[in-house]
């Protein structure tokens, strides 16, 4: 393959209550079903070198896409065992696993507020320190297809109940609460 490589510098960093991979849920929207039941509050701290104007007009959007780096992922494999469903490996590109050829993740999060270079977010499933490559507004006409068939995930849900992916191993509430 003659395609060149591309280098990207993160535009910001996630600050979240999830310090280790075991603590983090497997998809942003699964957070609501976790032990605490409270979607985690997190922030995206934009690179202070970027002008604040890049965020103008963003606050009217209810949701954002974060395109980020699975920075804790250690290499990739062609077949993975997903957290949901019966034992059985799936092609890594048919999953959202971190163990992909390019360790790039995609997560739809709720935007709570924009304050200077800080984006306040809800429903975040990302580890603290996650490098973010891009932020895009969620636009339903381009992004929302609620009826789209979802192959093996539909099959697992039909067999074991919807949204059967496990949540985080422990609550994101402080241990003292």
């Amino acid at each position: 393959m003659d395609a060149p490589a591309f280098t990207f510098r993160p535009i910001g960093t996630v600050r979240s209550p999830y310090l280790k991979r075991m603590d983090a849920p497997h998809q942003a929207t699964v957070v609501a079903g976790t032990e605490s039941g409270v979607p985690a509050e997190a922030t995206l701290e934009l690179d202070p070198a970027l002008p604040e104007t890049v965020l103008r007009d963003l606050e009217g959007f209810e949701r954002l896409w974060l395109i980020f780096v699975f920075h804790a992922s250690e290499g990739w494999v062609p077949l993975v065992q997903p957290p949901r469903g019966p034992r059985g490996k799936r092609g890594v590109l048919a999953t959202r696993s971190p163990h992909r050829p390019n360790a790039i993740g995609l997560s739809c999060v709720e935007l709570v507020a924009v304050e200077g270079h800080t984006l306040h977010l809800r429903g975040v499933d990302l580890l603290d320190g996650t490098p973010v490559l891009d932020v895009k507004p969620y636009v339903p006409y381009a992004d929302a297809f609620p009826g789209a068939r979802a192959g093996w995930i539909d099959a697992v849900d039909a067999a074991t109940g919807a949204h059967s992916a496990p949540g985080p191993k422990k609550s994101s509430r402080p241990a003292t609460s």
Copy 2:
């Protein structure tokens, strides 16, 4: 900012009827409203060095995310004039413009078939030769939020009619048809 840079090698290349930026629609789902009315057929040619097993279980998904490089984009700007709506610049991160700090794009396309290392796609808004960094299955429970507020885009649609982004300048049909 002390964040390191990340380098990615494309996992594949798009083959599409769109040879120049002027020919390409602005979002995959806008294609249906173009002059020809036929969503463009395109393929993703996976890097032959990748094992075919990475694609196992993918064919059951109706839609895929493509995370790609805006390889024809020439640098970025903090504020952009979107193709839709009245004159007025928006913060680049509140748009899906190619002129972003990291020239990374996100597009939801229809998967028609998987044939060896070739993914047959429909509803593609990408230029021929677009380098693809990742393919992910579209999973409605994580990705579909049809009622999400969309800030300035909702406001423009309310004023000028839904889905007001212009389509491609010319049909993707052969000139002889």
